[in-house]
Structure formats: C-alpha cells, structure tokens
C-alpha cells in the first residue's frame, strides 16, 4: 500500500499586515523584525471569518485539483491550535460547510505548529489499519485572533492561513514513505495560550491578565527547535535510506528565518532546496507546511519522483518529519 497526495490547496486571507502596520500598533520597527524573524508581512482573516472558513476554502481547492468531490472523501482531519470554538472541533465546522449529508468522521489534531505532520501520521494509520481510502487533511490557523498587541516579540510573528491535501490509498509507487513524531512535555509552557481552558477558565481576571493570547519564550524555543528538527530529519532519512544529498526539497515549518537557517546549516541543505514563504506569510503554525506544499506544487516546482523531506516543530513542544516521493497531483 502507498499513500499519495492527489491534490493540494491553500487559502490566504486578503488583508496584509506589514511591518509598517505593526509599527503603528506596538513599539517595534521593520529592521528589528526582519533581522530577527525574516518576516515582512503576514495575513489576517476578515472580521467575519474564522479558522474553519479558510480551511474550507483550502479544502475546496485541494478537492478541485484532485478532481474529486466531498462524497469521495471518507475522513476529515483538521490540524489547528486556533479552533473556531473549544468544542466542537474546527473539523466539525468544516464538515458543516463542505460535507452536508455525508456522515464521514471529522476531528481536530492539536499539535500546534507540528499539527500537519502529526495529522499526516494519523492519516497514514487511518488509511492503513482502519481501512479508510481518502483523507482530507488540512492545517489551518487564525492566529491573529490570539495575538497580544502589547507583546511585541510575539505579535510580529504569526499570520492566518490554511492549507489542505487530499491523501489517497494507492498501489502506485511513491507517496508518503515514512513519518516520525516526538514531543517533550517538560517544555509545555514555552509556547502557550494559558487562559480559556479548564486550568484557567475565561474570567474577568484571566482576561485582565491577557491570558487569552499566545505567550512564547522564543530564545528557549530556538535551541530545542534547531536541535530537534535536525535530529528528526536525520532519523527520518535513515528510515528510508536516503542521504541528505538525495533530498530534492526540504519543506520545513516556517517558524523564523533564523531557525530555518540554523537547521539548513546543520543538515547541510543549500538554500535553493529549502523553499520559504515566511517573508510574506509569517508563521502560520499548522498551516505553514501544507500552504508551502501547495504554493510549490502550483508553481510546478515539484516533479514526479522528487524526494521531499517535511519537518515540523511547535508548541508542546512537538516535532516530527515525513519523507515522501512526489507524485503528480490532479
């Protein structure tokens, strides 16, 4: 059995938030942001939109490209850490938008910025032993809704976006060959939204403490990110017997240009093999990998047989990687 990507799609909100826009909102400047993050602009959902709406659009585009309809899908998984509602899952909202009259299972995976890689391994298992045939796997985030515009080191980083892939069980060669996942809960407080859950429920107090927003200890995250992304990439390459030089494309979570550069240096991957959209998208958490896959795919950068190494990292802390051989979508 193999698992192929039949289609990719993404949805990018129209509203651009440039570094100059942020300069008017918080004490920061373009040069400070660019040297530390590599980000020049990020996108923001329209006021009436929520995460499920952009995920729905990304999913529709992935289905269109695959020349399939909602009735051809038998499982929906949405990776997100910025759900529309605490419950039901964002996947249930997407189901309402896209899968009317179809009772396929739908659920969220929350592994923060590693969500897409986590979702990929879950989908692989469901396509294997659980007998599903086609999975719609999306990563979508409405992170700007959780930004504290009094916290200048965090609000500059994140943007909204959604990406999706249609995964299909097949007998053809190629596709997803191996996945590896890890987490380490000793770092669970390094990236978090502390309030609004069962530990610190929404209240005038937690609201006043600004606990509904993302908090991150960037410097401590940096070190674990670089070391674990390098290690999980190497472990995943070993599983499929590839050397780093065999890899045509490294699709890494678009966290921060400094992290990406450090990982590239350690893995000895040349910049031209590591596509990036960080400059114009910012960090879009679980959406960053599927969005980048879709952008590269639609720009015809991937050829059938190209070897891709996907590497994710995020809050939890969580990290993971996948090795795949690209097959023509559509």
């Amino acid at each position: 059995m193999s698992v192929l990507i039949r289609g990719t799609g993404s949805a990018i909100p129209d509203r651009v938030i440039s570094n100059a826009d942020l300069e008017r909102m918080v004490e920061t400047n373009d040069e400070w942001i660019v040297t530390r993050t590599g980000i020049r602009e990020r996108r923001m959902m329209a006021p009436e939109e929520a995460t499920s709406d952009i995920v729905t659009r990304a999913a529709q585009r992935a289905l269109e490209q695959a020349e399939l309809g909602p009735e051809d899908i038998d499982l929906l998984i949405v990776a997100t850490c910025t759900p529309d509602t605490l419950t039901p899952a964002t996947a249930n909202h997407v189901h309402r938008n896209l899968f009317k009259g179809l009772s396929i299972p739908s659920f969220d995976v929350n592994a923060a910025c590693s969500g897409f890689v986590y979702g990929l391994e879950v989908a692989m298992a469901m396509l294997g032993s659980a007998g599903y045939k086609r999975v719609l796997l999306a990563g979508g985030e409405g992170l700007t809704r959780f930004m504290d515009y009094e916290e200048r080191t965090v609000c500059i980083l994140f943007g909204d976006a959604a990406g999706a892939v249609v995964l299909e069980k097949s007998d053809a060669p190629g596709g997803v060959l191996a996945t590896t996942l890890h987490s380490d809960g000793q770092y669970s407080d390094l990236i978090q939204i502390p309030g609004g859950g069962a530990r610190r429920p929404a209240s005038p107090y937690t609201l006043a403490q600004r606990e509904m927003f993302v908090r991150m200890e960037g410097q401590r995250v940096f070190k674990v990110a670089v070391q674990s992304m390098e290690q999980v990439a190497k472990d995943t390459l070993a599983k499929v017997g590839w050397k780093i030089g065999d890899v045509d494309w490294v699709i890494a979570h678009q966290a921060n240009s400094r992290i990406l550069r450090a990982v590239a240096d350690r893995l000895e991957v040349p910049a031209e093999k590591m596509p990036t959209n960080l400059e114009v998208r910012g960090n879009t958490s679980a959406a960053s990998i599927p969005v980048l896959l879709d952008e590269c795919n639609r720009a015809d950068r991937f050829k059938t047989g190209d070897k891709l190494l996907i590497v994710g990292f995020g809050g939890g802390l969580t990290w993971g990687a996948a090795a795949m051989e690209w097959t023509q979508t559509g």
Binding site: R36, G218, Q219, F222, Q227
Partner: protein, 80 residues
C-alpha cells in the same frame, strides 16, 4: 589551542566580528552587536565545541567574553 582562543574563534565565526574587538570585557550585546538569538546560537556552538550542556539559567548570566571563558573553565574543571 588555548581555551580563550577556541572561544574567540567560535565568537568570531558566529558573530562575524573582527579579532581586535575580542577582549574579555567585550559585552556580547553592547560591544559585539549580538542579538538574543545570536547569543543562543553562540551558546549552542560552545556546547558542541566543549561537550558541555549549558542550562538556560546559566546562559542568562553570560554577558561578556570573560563570562564565557570563566564559565567553561569552571564547568570543564568540575567535569575533570
């Protein structure tokens, strides 16, 4: 190579600064133009070069090149 030279070689490479600016009292942020992430990368490079692990709580106290060399001296002595 002497410890100080090894440290200065790493700092010179990581921060891309001239040899003449590398003196014990040089402050990483103020004199050598490092930012917070440069310091993290520098600590990681030192960990690899000297085979030690620098906890975040220790790294926070490192401000100057002299701090780095005396920290490594203390750590390497304890290890030996």
């Amino acid at each position: 190579m002497e410890l100080t030279e090894r440290v200065y070689a790493i700092v010179g490479e990581q921060l891309g600064v001239e040899k003449e600016t590398l003196v014990p009292e040089a402050n990483l942020l103020d004199d050598l133009g490092a930012d917070s992430l440069d310091v993290v990368e520098l600590v990681m490079a030192i960990e690899e070069e000297f085979g030690i692990e620098v906890p975040d709580s220790d790294a926070e106290n490192i401000r100057t090149l002299g701090d780095i060399t005396s920290y490594i001296e203390a750590r390497v002595e304890t290890a030996a």
